[in-house]
Symmetry: C2
Subunit: 238 residues, 2 copies
Amino acid sequence: MADRVEPGGPDENEVLADDELTDAELRAADGRVPGRRGRATRQRLLACTADMLGTTSFRELRVVDIAREAGTSPATFYQYFPDVEAAILVLAEEVAQEAAGLADLVRGPSWKGRQGWAASTAVADGFMDFWERHRAVMRVVELAAGEGDQRFHRLRTRMLNPLATAFTEVVDGFRKEGRQPADLDPMAVAGVLVSMLAHVAAHRYGFEFWGIRSEDTTRTMARIIFTTVTGQKPPADV
Amino acid sequence: MADRVEPGGPDENEVLADDELTDAELRAADGRVPGRRGRATRQRLLACTADMLGTTSFRELRVVDIAREAGTSPATFYQYFPDVEAAILVLAEEVAQEAAGLADLVRGPSWKGRQGWAASTAVADGFMDFWERHRAVMRVVELAAGEGDQRFHRLRTRMLNPLATAFTEVVDGFRKEGRQPADLDPMAVAGVLVSMLAHVAAHRYGFEFWGIRSEDTTRTMARIIFTTVTGQKPPADV
DNA sequence: CGGCGTTCCTGACGGAGCGTCAGCTAGGTG
DNA sequence: CACCTAGCTGACGCTCCGTCAGGAACGCCG
């Protein structure tokens, strides 16, 4: 509408080209670089978004509600985030940092004999625990990715791929040793195992609703992981 | 707003109590029992909904678009369905009929020896095939159930429970024969297996994107199913 | 074939959120 | 104290939702 006059200010494209990582996440809608107060408001909005995600379903999360909860107005929200998803994406980014550590549960320990069983339970428990601690955010990641939102789809991939890659490597090791059939595709194995973990973790309460104890679910998954990765039966006393 | 006058017409509650199965699905919004033309319109709306589900993402499916596609108006749509989900629910109901047959893949055949391997592949293949043929509808069922929509959640349960129950029975059989540990919870096993199948089927194209062949995915799942159900290693030549 | 009752359809409307401005407020600085 | 600019918001236009009153089409009967 109004012709944009930018007296002396840097060209927008320059700003976009310049600020790569540090400011990209923090830059406000109009290109300003926020100061102390602005960042505090942004953090408050993020915190309220996280809070409300715990109680409200993702789809019912309205910008107007988040803003009111944070003691500000909807227009302010849009200064810091293009939409609600973008705010959640920031929260999810922090979760993604932690998710990278899941791969260590697979890559770190030895998978030979009883140590393999320990690793299997560690992966199953660790994954379930991880998902539980970030339940609200992970639910949104799953839903949004499922709906075709590319931002969340990419994030989901970044979260789970390290784990899948780690599985692939371990399985490939066993395959090269002849413990697994030569025609087994380690990536397929990895993908199926990660799928199992993700879906079971996401539906944990569904399992409990049917009277299945979490302990049994986790142990069942540990057995499957052990057998599928190593090609051996799990130890008899588990 | 306007005081409701119902001159001589039957009380709404009576109607609701009376029409149980036959008319419940067909009754229009205002309580009328539709005639030939009405049902044709309803069918047209359903067909267009199914068509557009194939191309448009569930969340972008607008009542106004479906109505226009069907050559009618949004208000007409609301005569036959309270919302878009309700229309999809009708489509999903048909899918649910077919889903009941999945349990036969588990319950029917013997699980002893090589026959067990045949059963495992049949389940993995059959499930993937089922999901593929109803991809569009199943995607909505998963999403809507995940978002907390009770209608879809119940439908999802009705779809997958027979399969889980069948798994439970077979596993329990092996457990009683001493082929499986006594402390294994057959329901946990069944739940995990169904979760694996559902999630892998839903993310099939994700697998293919990473260069994993569907054949390898399915075979991997068949191995897991065989081992997890029977407690044995799969035959060497697969 | 004309009148009548019922089924069927739709234009038009109020309402809820969204996302965007122009313009105001207030904290910081010289 | 005056000024600047980061920060905030009231108010608006838009899109889509779901509803309702009332018109159109159909079928039946005399």
